[in-house]
Amino acid sequence: MTAPVIEVRELTNRFGTQVVHERLDLTINSGEVLGLVGGSGAGKSVLVRTILGLREPSAGQVLWFGQDRAKMPDAERQRVERRLGVMFQDGALFSSLTVLENVLVPLKEYTRLREGFMIELARLKLALVGLPPDAADKYPEHLSGGMRKRAGIARALALDPDVLFLDEPTSGLDPIGATGFDQLIRTLASALGLTVILVTHDLDSVFAVCDRVAVIADRHIVVADAPARVAHHPHPWIQECFGGPRAARLPGFAPS
């Protein structure tokens, strides 16, 4: 077993008097698909933003590949940042660039490849996430929500990261689109050897793609384990969520 990709130790996050996280611990192992679930306002997005360094924690540590993020020299931190890919909720594509140009942005910034090869590589990323060739020259506004999310992943994958963060990848998608997305995540995770952190509300996704689920409630991680085991955890929020009518029809899970 290799070292954990990301470790969060004793993390505390406060907004004024409101405490979002208190002494929260989380370990993400290499090569796993980890689901991060929790009620609205439980602090999932804040946790992800803190892990990514988009927000400074009020207290505690975030370790990237075994190194304390706060203590890394700038150059080293930038190098590691390139190993982390993020897809934001609605793709967060740059609206003034075409889809292909969006994927080219990180390639142009960070590599010294020839333009022709760069474009080939960007087209490959679009193909990997299942976008049709004619989507490449379209602007984000002309794409459906699902396609924008896919394009967002393609941009996140541009630099071949080791870790991929997905914020609500299946929200706003129809059930067929969501299933396709689950398959895509599995395929990419196994073929590209990715570690995936999946923030989600969607129990279908959790059971379909996650190796482990971390439940965030009461300001910390209540449990982090295989989905089927998490479902039987006695915490009231988990019981309400996994025991509710929306969970009853899921395969491999019978409510207790």
Partner: protein
């Protein structure tokens, strides 16, 4: 870290890191390679999708065999082979002379469509205005007054200041040219005529096109981008009645008033320069002004004001309503709005000049 390869007849041996970071230098100076019969990945430390793409596109044919790759690398390469097959089409794009002609043609057709669309939009707004006048629709008085304050009253200081300065400049210009003919005193006529007939209203219109026209476009455009316009429609309300009419009316009322102040400020600027450096006392200036400024000059200027207001408001609102989607579109349409409005104002000013010349005013 580097990516390396060696040939053994038609066998290709890969070594090192075939990753995005490492292949850059290799890719940049790679001569065309023959297709390998067999690729050996035994000595490969790591490979990612960039390295795999380079391998597949530069070294491999469809029948190339892969030997000794790790299961993970094999999985990656297979996925790329499978997905690439479905994604090869490239859109042709015209370059050179043909491309230039094409773009010129597109621009011509677009200009024609813009003109037609503005005409149609004018008709639509006029129809709604008539319905309001007949009492079939509500006049949004609060919104109208709000826009009168923001587009009209708030613009007074800047418009007056600029007119004052231009008035002074025209006076200096007149003095310089006319003094050679010993007619420096005619500067009064020059300033008065030019401001009453042209500059007062023209300066106001151009400033309001830049100031209020752009604001109208950006406001409505942002509402359009965030689907607020659709929400207005879905609630059974009419965006023309709600957004366009108040702005148009506000500008039609306010532009003539602001233009009147601009005329006063401009003449004041001329008078100041006259008394300070040309030796035309304020009393003399006023006396000549009363003699020279016939009422018709004032009307020539003021008749144009509501027309310019209509042009600016309609152009701005129409550009706002044709925004679609992104933040960039809002910026593009705001630019187009200001450019079109100023163009139309100057074009109509020229047409008015011809008209007044013909009727002898």
């Amino acid at each position: 870290m580097s990516a390396e390869f060696t040939w053994e007849q038609r066998d290709l041996h890969l070594r090192g890191h075939w990753t995005l970071e490492a292949i850059a230098s290799l890719e940049a100076q790679l001569a065309p390679q023959p297709a390998a019969a067999r690729v050996h990945g035994t000595a490969l430390t790591s490979i990612d999708s960039a390295g795999a793409l380079l391998l597949l596109t530069r070294f491999c044919a469809a029948d190339t065999q892969r030997i000794g790759f790790s299961p993970a690398a094999e999985k990656l390469i297979e996925l790329i082979v499978a997905r690439r097959a479905t994604n090869v089409a490239k859109l042709p794009r015209a370059h050179g002379l043909l491309g230039m002609l094409e773009r010129a043609g597109i621009a011509m057709v677009r200009a024609k469509n813009e003109a037609l669309a503005l005409l149609g939009f004018t008709g639509l707004v006029l129809e709604r205005a008539v319905q309001v006048a007949l009492g079939r629709r509500r006049l949004r008085l609060t919104a109208t007054v709000f826009h009168m304050e923001r587009a009209g009253l708030d613009a007074v200081p800047i418009v007056c200041l600029l007119s004052f300065l231009v008035g002074a400049v025209v006076a200096f210009l007149g003095a310089t040219v006319l003094a050679d003919f010993g007619a420096a005193v005619l500067t009064v006529e020059l300033v008065t005529y030019s401001f009453l007939r042209e500059f007062g209203v023209l300066l106001t219109a151009i400033l309001l096109a830049g100031r209020s026209g752009s604001a109208f476009t950006a406001e409505i455009g942002m509402m359009r981008a965030r689907e607020e316009i659709d929400a207005i429609r879905a609630l059974g309300l009419d965006p023309i009645e709600l957004l366009v009419l108040p702005r148009t009316l506000a500008l039609i009322v306010m532009l003539p008033l602001v233009a009147f102040l601009a005329v006063l400020a401009g003449i004041l600027g001329g008078a100041l320069v006259g008394s300070l450096s040309l030796g035309i006392s304020p009393g003399l200036f006023l006396a000549r002004l009363q003699e020279a400024a016939e009422l018709r000059h004032f009307f020539v200027g003021m008749i144009k004001a509501p027309v310019f207001a209509l042009l600016i408001a309609l152009t701005a609102c129409r550009q706002g309503l044709s925004v679609s989607g992104s933040a960039e579109a809002v910026g593009r349409h705001t630019t187009a709005s200001v450019v079109q409005a100023i163009f139309l104002v100057i074009l109509f000013d020229a047409l008015f000049a011809i008209l007044f010349r013909e009727i002898g005013w």
